[in-house]
Symmetry: C2
Subunit: 125 residues, 2 copies
DNA sequence: AACCGTTATATCTTTAAAAAAATAACGAAC
DNA sequence: GTTCGTTATTTTTTTAAAGATATAACGGTT
């Protein structure tokens, strides 16, 4: 069946698209997805879990739980924290975290290409 | 960066895989995904929203809301219901619904191929 | 020692989602 | 008109997630 016959089933006033999300799975549960990627990036930018969470509109608690899960599930820590210190403390991400981010970005790009290709086919006459 | 360097970051006792989900989006919100596909299939098999919901471990209410959303969002109804009748009523899916199911299955197959390809690359040495 | 902003953690409250329960209407069969 | 199992809908209850709040520890700086 050609996808165009599907399009005709839908309301023809708007355009439809194929969307989705993906992640790296470990033992059946999500290990690394878009949310954690963004959190790591913001920690790298701000040097703080607290600030990173606020810029994302996320509670500190949830952010901490996410990076705690990341650190405990991976063989090497992805975020190194310091409590106390000249500015009260702070956090930095490791080179391994940067590698994971780059990999996920490239993976995501390939996925976006896939989705755009499917969407184009779906909306073509 | 080669994906294998990412693998080494993770715990090497288990295998990781790239997983995900996709759906057809309409005006920014999900319109048709795996859950609704399965529900339509079970309605086709059982001839009843009620029975279909039970075999999926889903409440009738939620099932009804899903098929109601499907019917109101698509230009042509996907499920036709009858209240009352010789067996109390029942539901059947339309040819349009069957076409949507087939399209989604084919789309899903292409997606699975994509995921398996990525997973193989991720776990390769 | 006091101060600072952060990490770390527990607890309480609020909110949202899901589930459950209850009720009415429907229409063919008898 | 009674029975039957289903659809349709509202209401209530339960559960889970999220959010808010509170508190302590930390370690440089002053």
């Amino acid at each position: 069946m050609h996808p165009s016959s599907v399009k005709s089933l839908l309301q023809n006033k708007t355009s439809y698209k194929v969307a989705g999300t993906l992640w790296i799975e470990c033992e059946g549960h999500r290990f690394f997805g878009p949310g954690r990627v963004e959190l790591l990036q913001r920690i790298e930018e701000t040097g703080s879990i607290n600030k990173a969470a606020k810029t994302m509109g996320m509670s500190y608690k949830k952010a901490w739980e996410m990076i705690n899960a990341l650190n405990t599930q991976s063989s090497k820590p992805l975020v190194i924290t310091q409590t106390g210190g000249e500015k009260g403390g702070g956090s930095v991400i490791t080179p391994e975290a940067r590698q994971l981010i780059v990999y996920h970005q490239q993976l995501r790009q390939r996925f976006l290409t896939f989705l755009e290709n499917e969407s184009t086919q779906l909306n073509s006459i």
